[in-house]
Protein backbone atom coordinates (compact mmCIF):
# COMPACT_ATOMS: atom_id res chain seq x y z
CA UNK A 1 0.00 0.00 0.00
CA UNK A 2 1.38 3.39 -0.89
CA UNK A 3 2.32 5.31 2.18
CA UNK A 4 2.87 2.34 4.45
CA UNK A 5 6.60 2.92 4.74
CA UNK A 6 6.03 6.59 5.47
CA UNK A 7 3.56 5.77 8.22
CA UNK A 8 5.99 3.33 9.79
CA UNK A 9 8.69 5.97 9.69
CA UNK A 10 6.36 8.46 11.34
CA UNK A 11 5.65 5.92 14.09
CA UNK A 12 9.36 5.50 14.67
CA UNK A 13 10.01 9.20 15.11
CA UNK A 14 6.94 9.53 17.33
CA UNK A 15 8.37 6.80 19.52
CA UNK A 16 11.59 8.75 19.82
CA UNK A 17 9.69 11.95 20.59
CA UNK A 18 7.68 10.51 23.44
CA UNK A 19 10.63 8.46 24.61
CA UNK A 20 12.73 11.60 24.97
CA UNK A 21 10.55 12.67 27.88
CA UNK A 22 10.75 9.43 29.81
CA UNK A 23 14.04 7.69 29.16
CA UNK A 24 17.61 8.90 29.28
CA UNK A 25 18.49 6.75 26.31
CA UNK A 26 16.23 8.76 24.02
CA UNK A 27 17.63 12.08 25.19
CA UNK A 28 21.35 11.70 25.28
CA UNK A 29 22.36 15.34 25.66
CA UNK A 30 24.76 16.14 28.44
CA UNK A 31 24.39 19.81 29.29
CA UNK A 32 28.04 20.81 29.37
CA UNK A 33 29.38 22.73 31.35
CA UNK A 34 26.75 22.20 34.02
CA UNK A 35 26.89 18.41 33.70
CA UNK A 36 30.03 16.55 32.84
CA UNK A 37 30.65 12.96 31.89
CA UNK A 38 33.47 11.25 33.78
CA UNK A 39 36.42 10.44 31.57
CA UNK A 40 37.53 6.82 31.33
CA UNK A 41 40.79 5.74 32.90
CA UNK A 42 42.67 5.57 29.64
CA UNK A 43 41.68 8.98 28.27
CA UNK A 44 44.62 11.01 27.05
CA UNK A 45 45.14 14.53 25.85
CA UNK A 46 48.59 16.11 26.29
CA UNK A 47 51.65 14.90 28.20
CA UNK A 48 52.88 16.04 31.58
CA UNK A 49 55.98 15.35 33.67
CA UNK A 50 55.63 13.47 36.93
CA UNK A 51 57.49 14.39 40.10
CA UNK A 52 57.55 12.50 43.37
CA UNK A 53 57.12 14.29 46.65
CA UNK A 54 56.50 18.02 46.97
CA UNK A 55 59.46 19.56 45.22
CA UNK A 56 58.95 19.72 41.47
CA UNK A 57 62.66 20.25 40.94
CA UNK A 58 64.12 17.64 43.21
CA UNK A 59 61.47 14.94 42.69
CA UNK A 60 61.29 15.19 38.90
CA UNK A 61 61.62 11.70 37.45
CA UNK A 62 62.88 12.85 34.07
CA UNK A 63 66.61 12.28 33.51
CA UNK A 64 66.82 14.05 30.14
CA UNK A 65 67.66 10.86 28.22
CA UNK A 66 65.99 12.48 25.18
CA UNK A 67 64.43 9.24 23.96
CA UNK A 68 60.97 10.83 23.84
CA UNK A 69 62.38 13.75 21.87
CA UNK A 70 63.78 11.37 19.30
CA UNK A 71 60.70 9.15 19.00
CA UNK A 72 58.12 11.94 18.95
CA UNK A 73 56.52 11.83 15.46
CA UNK A 74 55.88 15.57 14.95
CA UNK A 75 58.97 16.50 16.94
CA UNK A 76 57.20 18.76 19.42
CA UNK A 77 59.50 18.08 22.41
CA UNK A 78 62.62 20.15 23.01
CA UNK A 79 65.02 19.10 25.76
CA UNK A 80 68.24 20.60 27.00
CA UNK A 81 70.27 18.49 29.41
CA UNK A 82 71.61 20.13 32.52
CA UNK A 83 75.34 20.27 33.20
CA UNK A 84 75.11 19.11 36.84
CA UNK A 85 73.44 16.05 38.29
CA UNK A 86 70.91 15.39 41.00
CA UNK A 87 69.90 12.18 42.81
CA UNK A 88 66.84 10.27 41.53
CA UNK A 89 64.38 8.16 43.58
CA UNK A 90 66.92 5.36 44.08
CA UNK A 91 69.68 7.78 45.00
CA UNK A 92 71.72 7.49 41.83
CA UNK A 93 73.09 10.72 40.37
CA UNK A 94 71.32 11.59 37.12
CA UNK A 95 71.15 14.52 34.73
CA UNK A 96 67.91 16.47 34.71
CA UNK A 97 66.32 18.62 31.99
CA UNK A 98 67.29 22.26 32.27
CA UNK A 99 64.80 23.02 29.52
CA UNK A 100 61.88 20.75 28.66
CA UNK A 101 59.40 22.36 26.25
CA UNK A 102 56.44 20.79 24.56
CA UNK A 103 54.66 22.71 21.82
CA UNK A 104 51.08 21.60 22.38
CA UNK A 105 49.91 23.15 19.14
CA UNK A 106 52.05 20.55 17.37
CA UNK A 107 51.57 17.60 19.74
CA UNK A 108 49.14 15.06 18.34
CA UNK A 109 48.47 13.15 21.57
CA UNK A 110 49.79 9.91 20.11
CA UNK A 111 51.26 8.75 23.44
CA UNK A 112 54.48 7.37 21.90
CA UNK A 113 56.59 9.47 24.29
CA UNK A 114 54.91 7.76 27.23
CA UNK A 115 55.43 4.34 25.70
CA UNK A 116 59.15 4.73 25.10
CA UNK A 117 60.09 6.49 28.34
CA UNK A 118 62.19 4.05 30.39
CA UNK A 119 61.75 6.06 33.60
CA UNK A 120 57.91 6.56 33.74
CA UNK A 121 58.70 10.24 33.87
CA UNK A 122 56.22 11.48 31.26
CA UNK A 123 52.54 10.50 31.34
CA UNK A 124 49.39 11.60 29.57
CA UNK A 125 47.15 14.18 31.15
CA UNK A 126 43.43 14.25 30.37
CA UNK A 127 42.63 17.93 30.92
CA UNK A 128 41.02 19.41 27.84
CA UNK A 129 39.78 22.83 28.86
CA UNK A 130 43.00 24.49 27.85
CA UNK A 131 42.02 27.51 25.83
CA UNK A 132 44.38 30.44 25.90
CA UNK A 133 44.40 33.84 24.30
CA UNK A 134 48.04 33.71 23.31
CA UNK A 135 48.32 31.50 20.26
CA UNK A 136 52.07 31.02 20.32
CA UNK A 137 53.62 31.41 23.75
CA UNK A 138 50.49 30.21 25.50
CA UNK A 139 50.80 26.86 23.74
CA UNK A 140 54.50 26.32 24.33
CA UNK A 141 54.63 24.68 27.72
CA UNK A 142 57.80 24.74 29.77
CA UNK A 143 59.01 22.29 32.37
CA UNK A 144 57.42 24.24 35.20
CA UNK A 145 54.01 24.12 33.53
CA UNK A 146 54.38 20.46 32.65
CA UNK A 147 55.52 19.18 36.03
CA UNK A 148 52.68 17.75 38.10
CA UNK A 149 52.85 15.70 41.29
CA UNK A 150 52.41 11.95 41.48
CA UNK A 151 49.22 12.48 43.51
CA UNK A 152 47.70 14.19 40.47
CA UNK A 153 48.72 11.20 38.38
CA UNK A 154 46.94 8.93 40.87
CA UNK A 155 43.88 11.10 40.59
CA UNK A 156 43.49 10.88 36.86
CA UNK A 157 44.79 7.39 36.09
CA UNK A 158 44.54 5.41 39.34
CA UNK A 159 45.20 1.94 37.93
CA UNK A 160 48.19 2.97 35.82
CA UNK A 161 49.66 5.09 38.60
CA UNK A 162 49.38 2.24 41.08
CA UNK A 163 51.06 -0.12 38.65
CA UNK A 164 53.88 2.37 37.98
CA UNK A 165 54.39 2.90 41.70
CA UNK A 166 54.61 -0.84 42.28
CA UNK A 167 57.19 -1.22 39.54
CA UNK A 168 59.30 1.63 40.81
CA UNK A 169 59.11 0.32 44.37
CA UNK A 170 60.28 -3.07 43.17
CA UNK A 171 63.16 -1.52 41.24
CA UNK A 172 64.15 0.49 44.26
CA UNK A 173 64.02 -2.58 46.50
CA UNK A 174 66.20 -4.51 44.08
CA UNK A 175 68.69 -1.65 43.86
CA UNK A 176 68.88 -1.37 47.61
CA UNK A 177 69.28 -5.12 47.99
CA UNK A 178 72.17 -5.04 45.53
CA UNK A 179 73.76 -2.06 47.34
CA UNK A 180 73.84 -3.90 50.70
CA UNK A 181 74.89 -7.45 49.88
CA UNK A 182 75.97 -8.35 53.47
CA UNK A 183 72.62 -7.59 55.07
CA UNK A 184 70.73 -9.38 52.26
CA UNK A 185 70.35 -12.72 54.17
CA UNK A 186 67.00 -12.81 55.95
CA UNK A 187 66.23 -9.25 56.92
CA UNK A 188 66.01 -7.66 53.45
CA UNK A 189 65.40 -3.95 53.28
CA UNK A 190 61.73 -4.34 52.33
CA UNK A 191 60.36 -1.98 55.03
CA UNK A 192 62.75 0.82 54.00
CA UNK A 193 61.74 0.81 50.38
CA UNK A 194 58.26 2.26 51.00
CA UNK A 195 59.38 5.42 52.71
CA UNK A 196 60.27 7.87 49.93
CA UNK A 197 57.84 6.90 47.16
CA UNK A 198 54.67 8.94 47.67
Amino acid sequence: MLGEGILKGLAETARNFFGSFVSKERLTTVQFPEERLPQPEAARNFPFLVYDGDDSQAGLRCVACQICEKECPPKCIFIQKSSDKKPDYIGKQQFYPAVFNIDVSVCMSCQICVEVCPFDAIEMDNAFELSTTDRFRGLLWSREQLAKPNSYFHNIHPATAAEVDERLAEAKARAEAKAKPTVAASTTSQPDSQTTTS
Binding site: L2, G3, E4, G5, I6, K8, G9, A11, E12, T13, R15, N16, T28, Q39, P40, E41, A42, A43, R44, I67, E71, C72, P73, M108, S109, C110, Q111, I112, E115, V116, M124, A159
Partner: protein, 385 residues
Protein backbone atom coordinates in the same frame (compact mmCIF):
# COMPACT_ATOMS: atom_id res chain seq x y z
CA UNK B 1 26.12 28.71 1.97
CA UNK B 2 26.14 29.25 -1.76
CA UNK B 3 28.59 28.03 -4.32
CA UNK B 4 31.31 29.79 -6.25
CA UNK B 5 30.08 32.48 -8.64
CA UNK B 6 27.52 31.50 -11.22
CA UNK B 7 28.27 32.74 -14.71
CA UNK B 8 26.31 35.95 -15.23
CA UNK B 9 24.27 36.18 -18.41
CA UNK B 10 25.56 38.96 -20.63
CA UNK B 11 23.32 41.73 -21.80
CA UNK B 12 22.96 40.21 -25.26
CA UNK B 13 22.04 36.86 -23.84
CA UNK B 14 19.47 38.39 -21.60
CA UNK B 15 18.09 40.31 -24.52
CA UNK B 16 17.87 37.13 -26.55
CA UNK B 17 15.73 35.55 -23.85
CA UNK B 18 16.20 32.74 -21.45
CA UNK B 19 15.38 30.03 -23.90
CA UNK B 20 18.99 29.65 -25.03
CA UNK B 21 20.42 26.32 -24.14
CA UNK B 22 23.94 27.11 -23.09
CA UNK B 23 26.00 24.83 -20.93
CA UNK B 24 26.54 26.18 -17.46
CA UNK B 25 29.67 25.38 -15.55
CA UNK B 26 29.29 25.33 -11.80
CA UNK B 27 31.86 24.66 -9.15
CA UNK B 28 30.31 22.81 -6.25
CA UNK B 29 33.01 24.48 -4.30
CA UNK B 30 35.30 23.32 -1.57
CA UNK B 31 33.01 25.14 0.88
CA UNK B 32 29.89 23.05 0.66
CA UNK B 33 27.67 21.49 3.27
CA UNK B 34 27.40 18.16 1.50
CA UNK B 35 30.81 17.28 0.17
CA UNK B 36 32.19 15.34 3.14
CA UNK B 37 35.18 17.61 3.45
CA UNK B 38 37.07 20.09 1.30
CA UNK B 39 36.29 18.77 -2.13
CA UNK B 40 35.37 20.46 -5.35
CA UNK B 41 33.35 19.20 -8.29
CA UNK B 42 33.39 21.14 -11.55
CA UNK B 43 30.02 20.28 -13.01
CA UNK B 44 28.87 21.17 -16.51
CA UNK B 45 25.10 21.33 -16.68
CA UNK B 46 22.74 21.28 -19.59
CA UNK B 47 19.64 22.83 -18.11
CA UNK B 48 19.37 20.47 -15.21
CA UNK B 49 21.20 17.36 -16.36
CA UNK B 50 24.86 16.79 -15.67
CA UNK B 51 26.94 16.56 -18.83
CA UNK B 52 30.44 16.49 -17.41
CA UNK B 53 31.81 16.23 -13.91
CA UNK B 54 35.38 16.71 -12.85
CA UNK B 55 36.37 16.07 -9.26
CA UNK B 56 39.08 18.39 -7.97
CA UNK B 57 40.77 17.40 -4.74
CA UNK B 58 44.04 18.05 -2.99
CA UNK B 59 42.75 20.65 -0.58
CA UNK B 60 43.69 18.40 2.33
CA UNK B 61 47.03 17.12 1.10
CA UNK B 62 49.31 16.80 4.10
CA UNK B 63 52.40 15.05 2.71
CA UNK B 64 51.67 11.87 4.59
CA UNK B 65 53.78 9.64 2.36
CA UNK B 66 56.74 12.02 2.33
CA UNK B 67 56.67 12.48 6.08
CA UNK B 68 56.75 8.72 6.46
CA UNK B 69 60.02 8.57 4.54
CA UNK B 70 61.75 10.71 7.16
CA UNK B 71 60.04 9.28 10.23
CA UNK B 72 60.54 5.86 11.72
CA UNK B 73 58.07 3.05 11.18
CA UNK B 74 56.54 3.52 14.61
CA UNK B 75 56.24 7.27 14.18
CA UNK B 76 54.10 6.76 11.05
CA UNK B 77 51.49 4.85 13.03
CA UNK B 78 49.77 7.89 14.55
CA UNK B 79 49.74 9.49 11.09
CA UNK B 80 47.82 6.55 9.68
CA UNK B 81 45.04 7.33 12.19
CA UNK B 82 44.52 10.53 10.33
CA UNK B 83 44.15 9.04 6.87
CA UNK B 84 40.56 7.89 7.05
CA UNK B 85 39.88 9.72 10.24
CA UNK B 86 36.57 8.03 10.91
CA UNK B 87 38.03 4.52 10.86
CA UNK B 88 41.39 4.91 12.53
CA UNK B 89 41.68 1.35 13.86
CA UNK B 90 41.42 -0.28 10.44
CA UNK B 91 44.06 2.09 9.08
CA UNK B 92 46.34 1.06 11.93
CA UNK B 93 45.75 -2.59 11.20
CA UNK B 94 46.51 -2.27 7.49
CA UNK B 95 49.79 -0.54 8.23
CA UNK B 96 50.73 -3.01 10.94
CA UNK B 97 49.92 -5.86 8.55
CA UNK B 98 52.23 -4.42 5.90
CA UNK B 99 55.10 -3.98 8.37
CA UNK B 100 54.59 -7.44 9.82
CA UNK B 101 54.83 -8.89 6.34
CA UNK B 102 57.99 -6.89 5.74
CA UNK B 103 59.69 -7.89 8.99
CA UNK B 104 58.25 -11.37 9.31
CA UNK B 105 56.58 -10.86 12.69
CA UNK B 106 53.98 -13.19 14.14
CA UNK B 107 50.94 -11.86 15.93
CA UNK B 108 49.72 -13.83 18.98
CA UNK B 109 46.17 -15.12 18.98
CA UNK B 110 44.69 -12.82 21.57
CA UNK B 111 45.94 -9.82 19.68
CA UNK B 112 44.39 -11.15 16.47
CA UNK B 113 41.03 -11.53 18.15
CA UNK B 114 41.22 -8.03 19.58
CA UNK B 115 42.14 -6.71 16.14
CA UNK B 116 39.08 -8.36 14.62
CA UNK B 117 36.84 -6.99 17.38
CA UNK B 118 38.07 -3.43 16.94
CA UNK B 119 37.95 -3.65 13.15
CA UNK B 120 34.34 -4.80 13.11
CA UNK B 121 33.37 -2.13 15.62
CA UNK B 122 35.01 0.36 13.30
CA UNK B 123 32.96 -0.98 10.42
CA UNK B 124 29.80 -0.32 12.43
CA UNK B 125 31.00 3.19 13.24
CA UNK B 126 31.70 3.97 9.62
CA UNK B 127 28.56 2.53 8.09
CA UNK B 128 26.21 4.25 10.53
CA UNK B 129 27.90 7.57 9.82
CA UNK B 130 27.70 7.05 6.06
CA UNK B 131 24.02 6.16 6.06
CA UNK B 132 23.24 9.01 8.42
CA UNK B 133 24.94 11.52 6.16
CA UNK B 134 23.22 10.04 3.13
CA UNK B 135 19.82 10.77 4.60
CA UNK B 136 20.99 14.22 5.60
CA UNK B 137 21.90 14.94 1.99
CA UNK B 138 18.49 13.73 0.88
CA UNK B 139 16.99 16.44 3.03
CA UNK B 140 15.69 14.52 6.02
CA UNK B 141 16.58 17.44 8.32
CA UNK B 142 18.94 15.49 10.47
CA UNK B 143 16.72 13.00 12.25
CA UNK B 144 18.22 9.70 10.97
CA UNK B 145 21.65 11.29 11.33
CA UNK B 146 21.06 11.98 15.01
CA UNK B 147 19.86 8.44 15.64
CA UNK B 148 22.96 7.05 13.93
CA UNK B 149 25.22 9.27 15.97
CA UNK B 150 23.50 8.34 19.18
CA UNK B 151 24.47 4.72 18.58
CA UNK B 152 27.91 5.58 17.35
CA UNK B 153 28.64 7.34 20.61
CA UNK B 154 28.41 4.06 22.48
CA UNK B 155 31.08 2.52 20.29
CA UNK B 156 33.27 5.59 20.48
CA UNK B 157 33.04 5.40 24.27
CA UNK B 158 34.33 1.84 23.99
CA UNK B 159 37.25 3.07 21.92
CA UNK B 160 38.02 5.77 24.42
CA UNK B 161 38.17 3.41 27.35
CA UNK B 162 40.36 1.00 25.38
CA UNK B 163 42.78 3.20 23.51
CA UNK B 164 42.50 6.57 25.22
CA UNK B 165 41.05 8.47 22.32
CA UNK B 166 37.75 8.36 20.44
CA UNK B 167 39.09 8.90 16.96
CA UNK B 168 42.88 8.87 16.77
CA UNK B 169 43.36 5.53 18.38
CA UNK B 170 46.97 4.61 17.58
CA UNK B 171 46.33 1.17 18.99
CA UNK B 172 48.04 -1.44 16.81
CA UNK B 173 51.74 -2.12 17.03
CA UNK B 174 53.95 -4.26 14.82
CA UNK B 175 53.45 -7.70 16.25
CA UNK B 176 50.28 -7.13 18.26
CA UNK B 177 48.28 -4.50 20.10
CA UNK B 178 49.50 -1.76 22.33
CA UNK B 179 47.65 -2.20 25.60
CA UNK B 180 45.56 -4.78 27.40
CA UNK B 181 41.77 -4.55 27.61
CA UNK B 182 40.70 -2.61 30.72
CA UNK B 183 38.49 -4.20 33.37
CA UNK B 184 34.84 -4.41 32.34
CA UNK B 185 35.48 -3.62 28.68
CA UNK B 186 34.37 -7.02 27.43
CA UNK B 187 31.08 -6.83 29.29
CA UNK B 188 30.46 -3.34 28.00
CA UNK B 189 31.20 -4.42 24.44
CA UNK B 190 28.91 -7.42 24.73
CA UNK B 191 26.14 -5.13 25.92
CA UNK B 192 26.64 -2.78 22.95
CA UNK B 193 26.70 -5.68 20.50
CA UNK B 194 23.52 -7.10 21.97
CA UNK B 195 21.62 -3.81 21.74
CA UNK B 196 22.78 -2.86 18.28
CA UNK B 197 20.42 -5.09 16.23
CA UNK B 198 17.45 -3.38 17.85
CA UNK B 199 18.76 -0.03 16.67
CA UNK B 200 19.28 -1.42 13.16
CA UNK B 201 15.68 -2.65 13.11
CA UNK B 202 14.40 0.76 14.15
CA UNK B 203 16.56 2.42 11.56
CA UNK B 204 15.30 0.15 8.82
CA UNK B 205 11.76 0.85 9.87
CA UNK B 206 12.44 4.53 9.41
CA UNK B 207 14.18 4.29 6.06
CA UNK B 208 14.01 1.07 4.09
CA UNK B 209 10.32 1.01 3.24
CA UNK B 210 9.93 4.77 3.11
CA UNK B 211 8.49 5.56 -0.33
CA UNK B 212 10.23 8.90 -0.60
CA UNK B 213 13.56 7.35 0.27
CA UNK B 214 12.99 4.61 -2.26
CA UNK B 215 12.04 7.13 -4.92
CA UNK B 216 15.22 9.12 -4.29
CA UNK B 217 17.45 6.06 -4.17
CA UNK B 218 16.24 3.36 -6.51
CA UNK B 219 17.42 3.63 -10.08
CA UNK B 220 19.75 6.52 -9.27
CA UNK B 221 23.47 6.43 -9.92
CA UNK B 222 23.78 2.98 -11.44
CA UNK B 223 27.27 1.52 -11.58
CA UNK B 224 27.59 -1.42 -13.91
CA UNK B 225 29.53 -4.50 -12.88
CA UNK B 226 32.08 -4.34 -15.69
CA UNK B 227 32.87 -0.69 -15.16
CA UNK B 228 33.29 -1.26 -11.45
CA UNK B 229 35.78 -4.07 -11.98
CA UNK B 230 37.67 -2.20 -14.68
CA UNK B 231 38.02 0.92 -12.57
CA UNK B 232 39.30 -0.94 -9.54
CA UNK B 233 36.40 -0.02 -7.30
CA UNK B 234 36.35 -2.03 -4.07
CA UNK B 235 34.30 -2.27 -0.94
CA UNK B 236 30.53 -1.92 -0.56
CA UNK B 237 30.30 -0.07 -3.89
CA UNK B 238 31.67 -3.10 -5.73
CA UNK B 239 29.50 -5.56 -3.85
CA UNK B 240 26.39 -3.48 -4.53
CA UNK B 241 27.07 -3.88 -8.25
CA UNK B 242 26.99 -7.62 -7.82
CA UNK B 243 30.66 -8.61 -7.66
CA UNK B 244 31.55 -11.08 -4.95
CA UNK B 245 34.86 -9.70 -3.75
CA UNK B 246 35.59 -9.21 -0.08
CA UNK B 247 39.21 -9.29 1.01
CA UNK B 248 38.26 -10.90 4.28
CA UNK B 249 37.17 -13.93 2.28
CA UNK B 250 39.76 -13.68 -0.48
CA UNK B 251 42.97 -13.10 1.50
CA UNK B 252 41.73 -14.49 4.81
CA UNK B 253 44.14 -12.16 6.62
CA UNK B 254 44.28 -12.28 10.37
CA UNK B 255 41.97 -15.02 11.62
CA UNK B 256 38.92 -14.23 9.51
CA UNK B 257 38.69 -17.80 8.23
CA UNK B 258 37.57 -18.84 11.71
CA UNK B 259 34.41 -16.76 11.61
CA UNK B 260 31.13 -17.62 10.01
CA UNK B 261 29.73 -14.65 8.09
CA UNK B 262 28.27 -14.01 4.65
CA UNK B 263 28.80 -11.32 2.05
CA UNK B 264 25.69 -9.42 0.92
CA UNK B 265 25.48 -8.61 -2.79
CA UNK B 266 23.37 -6.12 -4.67
CA UNK B 267 21.95 -6.46 -8.16
CA UNK B 268 21.35 -3.07 -9.68
CA UNK B 269 24.26 -1.08 -8.38
CA UNK B 270 22.21 1.99 -7.52
CA UNK B 271 22.09 4.13 -4.41
CA UNK B 272 19.50 1.92 -2.73
CA UNK B 273 21.65 -1.17 -3.23
CA UNK B 274 24.66 0.53 -1.71
CA UNK B 275 22.61 1.56 1.27
CA UNK B 276 21.19 -1.93 1.74
CA UNK B 277 24.57 -3.62 1.31
CA UNK B 278 25.91 -1.43 4.11
CA UNK B 279 22.97 -2.24 6.37
CA UNK B 280 23.38 -5.98 5.76
CA UNK B 281 27.12 -5.74 6.26
CA UNK B 282 26.51 -4.21 9.65
CA UNK B 283 24.41 -7.21 10.62
CA UNK B 284 27.16 -9.57 9.47
CA UNK B 285 29.68 -7.57 11.48
CA UNK B 286 27.54 -8.09 14.53
CA UNK B 287 27.68 -11.83 13.90
CA UNK B 288 31.47 -11.72 13.71
CA UNK B 289 31.64 -9.64 16.87
CA UNK B 290 29.42 -12.08 18.70
CA UNK B 291 31.68 -14.98 17.76
CA UNK B 292 34.92 -13.12 18.50
CA UNK B 293 33.78 -11.93 21.90
CA UNK B 294 32.73 -15.44 22.79
CA UNK B 295 35.99 -17.07 21.72
CA UNK B 296 38.53 -14.51 22.90
CA UNK B 297 41.46 -16.45 24.41
CA UNK B 298 43.94 -15.38 27.07
CA UNK B 299 47.55 -14.83 26.19
CA UNK B 300 50.24 -12.29 25.35
CA UNK B 301 49.51 -9.22 23.26
CA UNK B 302 52.78 -8.69 21.42
CA UNK B 303 55.21 -10.79 19.45
CA UNK B 304 58.24 -11.25 21.75
CA UNK B 305 60.55 -10.58 18.80
CA UNK B 306 58.99 -7.19 18.11
CA UNK B 307 60.93 -4.09 19.09
CA UNK B 308 59.43 -0.71 19.86
CA UNK B 309 62.60 1.30 19.48
CA UNK B 310 65.36 0.72 16.98
CA UNK B 311 63.13 -1.24 14.63
CA UNK B 312 65.03 -1.97 11.41
CA UNK B 313 63.36 -4.46 9.09
CA UNK B 314 65.48 -6.24 6.55
CA UNK B 315 65.60 -4.78 3.04
CA UNK B 316 62.63 -5.86 0.94
CA UNK B 317 59.12 -4.82 0.00
CA UNK B 318 55.66 -5.76 1.18
CA UNK B 319 52.06 -4.92 0.36
CA UNK B 320 49.54 -5.36 3.15
CA UNK B 321 45.86 -4.88 2.46
CA UNK B 322 42.65 -5.25 4.44
CA UNK B 323 38.95 -4.84 3.85
CA UNK B 324 38.53 -1.39 5.34
CA UNK B 325 34.91 -0.17 5.68
CA UNK B 326 35.38 1.92 2.55
CA UNK B 327 37.15 -0.63 0.38
CA UNK B 328 40.56 -2.14 -0.05
CA UNK B 329 43.05 -0.20 2.01
CA UNK B 330 46.61 -1.17 1.19
CA UNK B 331 50.08 -0.09 2.29
CA UNK B 332 53.07 -0.68 0.09
CA UNK B 333 56.43 -0.45 1.83
CA UNK B 334 59.97 -0.69 0.53
CA UNK B 335 62.62 -1.03 3.17
CA UNK B 336 66.33 -0.52 2.66
CA UNK B 337 67.45 -1.68 6.08
CA UNK B 338 67.35 1.75 7.74
CA UNK B 339 64.93 2.79 10.51
CA UNK B 340 62.89 4.81 7.98
CA UNK B 341 61.11 3.27 5.00
CA UNK B 342 62.55 3.99 1.57
CA UNK B 343 59.10 4.26 -0.03
CA UNK B 344 55.74 4.31 1.67
CA UNK B 345 52.62 4.29 -0.42
CA UNK B 346 48.98 4.19 0.59
CA UNK B 347 46.31 2.74 -1.70
CA UNK B 348 43.34 4.90 -0.71
CA UNK B 349 39.98 3.22 -1.42
CA UNK B 350 38.10 6.54 -1.45
CA UNK B 351 40.24 7.95 -4.24
CA UNK B 352 39.96 4.88 -6.44
CA UNK B 353 36.20 4.72 -5.88
CA UNK B 354 35.95 8.40 -6.77
CA UNK B 355 37.24 7.88 -10.31
CA UNK B 356 33.89 6.50 -11.45
CA UNK B 357 31.91 9.42 -10.08
CA UNK B 358 31.49 11.03 -13.48
CA UNK B 359 30.18 7.85 -15.07
CA UNK B 360 27.66 7.40 -12.32
CA UNK B 361 26.41 10.98 -12.35
CA UNK B 362 26.09 11.63 -16.06
CA UNK B 363 22.48 12.29 -17.01
CA UNK B 364 21.19 12.86 -13.50
CA UNK B 365 20.28 16.15 -11.89
CA UNK B 366 22.29 18.03 -9.32
CA UNK B 367 20.20 16.86 -6.40
CA UNK B 368 20.89 13.28 -7.48
CA UNK B 369 24.61 14.01 -7.87
CA UNK B 370 24.83 14.98 -4.23
CA UNK B 371 23.07 11.78 -3.19
CA UNK B 372 25.25 9.58 -5.44
CA UNK B 373 28.33 11.27 -4.09
CA UNK B 374 27.18 10.46 -0.58
CA UNK B 375 27.12 6.75 -1.33
CA UNK B 376 30.62 6.68 -2.76
CA UNK B 377 31.54 7.37 0.86
CA UNK B 378 34.75 9.30 0.68
CA UNK B 379 36.81 10.87 3.38
CA UNK B 380 39.10 13.63 2.23
CA UNK B 381 41.87 12.62 4.60
CA UNK B 382 42.23 9.45 2.60
CA UNK B 383 41.72 10.91 -0.85
CA UNK B 384 44.34 13.59 -0.39
CA UNK B 385 46.57 12.00 2.25
Amino acid sequence: MTTAPVKEATHDERAAGCGQDELLEIALGPHHPSTHGVFRMDVVLDGERVVKLKPVFGYLHRNHEKIAESASYLASMPYTDRLDYICSLTNNWAYALAVEKLAGLQVPERAEYIRVITAELTRLVNHTATIGFLTQEMGASGTPLMYAFREREKILDLFESLTGSRMMCNYMRFGGCRVELPAGWLEQTKKVVEEFPRFLDEYEQLLTGNEIFMARAQGVGILKKDLAIDAGVTGPMLRASGVNYDIRKVDKYGIYDRFDFKIPLGEHGDVYDRYMVRMLEMRESLKILHQALRDLPQGPLMDPKAKIRGFRPKPGEAYGRIEAPKGELGFYLISDGSPNPYRYRVRPPSLINLTVLEDMCRGYSIADTIVIFGTVDIVLGEVDR
